[in-house]
């Protein structure tokens, strides 16, 4: 399974004040707050970790059917600026990020090999939904393929997994 999440940093600056009292405590564990406090650019670290949690949550939500506002349960292990894992209960997801064009984009997968099987989908594609979860019908095989969609500000990203 896959999940993705993007933050437009220009829009995030307008929408969110991450320095607001209590903000970080509500969504980041103490370890994550330590990473933010010690980062060269704390703002980038905030949204880097946030997109990891969001991308991982999309998989968790689809795997378990559990819905909730659970950023503190989704704990990031930060390998480096682009790689890491997110753990929740007994589950672990792998994340890969891209920081470019004033945006931070993270893809999460259940299996590391799947990073090589990610395919972008076009924003014009017809999206169908099952219980709010988007999918597409493959034009060749006619099979349902799970997709993950994210958009924020100037950015839209959709991905699916190659068979």
């Amino acid at each position: 399974m896959i999940g993705n999440d993007i933050v437009d940093l220009a829009l995030a600056r307008k929408e969110s004040n991450w320095k607001r009292k209590g903000f970080l405590d509500k969504i980041f564990t103490l370890k994550e707050q330590f990473l933010i406090a010690n980062a060269i650019n704390p703002e980038i670290m905030v949204w880097n970790l946030w997109t990891r949690k969001e991308a991982a949550y999309k998989i968790y939500n689809r795997e378990t059917g559990i819905r909730g506002y659970i950023p503190l349960q989704l704990e990031c292990f930060y390998e480096n600026a682009t790689l890491g894992t997110v753990s929740i209960k007994e589950k672990i997801y792998f994340t890969k990020g891209i920081i470019e064009n004033n945006s931070i984009y993270t893809i999460a997968v259940t299996n590391k090999n799947n990073f090589d099987k990610i395919e972008s989908i076009d924003s014009a594609v017809t999206l169908l939904k099952n219980n709010g979860i988007p999918f597409v019908i493959d034009s060749v095989s006619k099979k349902k393929k799970a997709v993950s969609i994210t958009h924020h500000g100037r950015f839209w990203k959709g991905i699916t997994l190659l068979d």
Partner: protein, 85 residues
């Protein structure tokens, strides 16, 4: 506490963060903050912090996890206020 009044107060709190005016105009207990009002998930923290400030309550992790719709928010506000008194 009067539920209708709390819904009005809650509407005032969430209004700055909504991205779907139509859903906001017909808001009910079943309205979902993210799916219906299209509140950005990072802004849900602000909604929670604003609720804490407005009612002088603390929304713990367990309560926060359930805070995805109007109904849950109303229940949490009522519970936390009753614990305070």
């Amino acid at each position: 506490m009067n539920k209708e009044q709390t819904i009005e107060e809650l509407k005032n709190i969430v209004q700055p963060y909504i991205q779907n005016q139509e859903a906001f105009d017909i808001l009910t207990e079943d309205t979902d903050f993210i799916n219906d009002l299209k509140i950005n998930s990072a802004n849900l923290v602000d909604v929670i912090l604003d609720i804490e400030e407005k009612y002088d309550i603390v929304i713990d992790n367990e309560a926060m996890e359930r805070m995805v719709n109007v109904k849950a928010a109303l229940e949490i506000i009522a519970t936390k206020l009753s614990e305070k008194n």
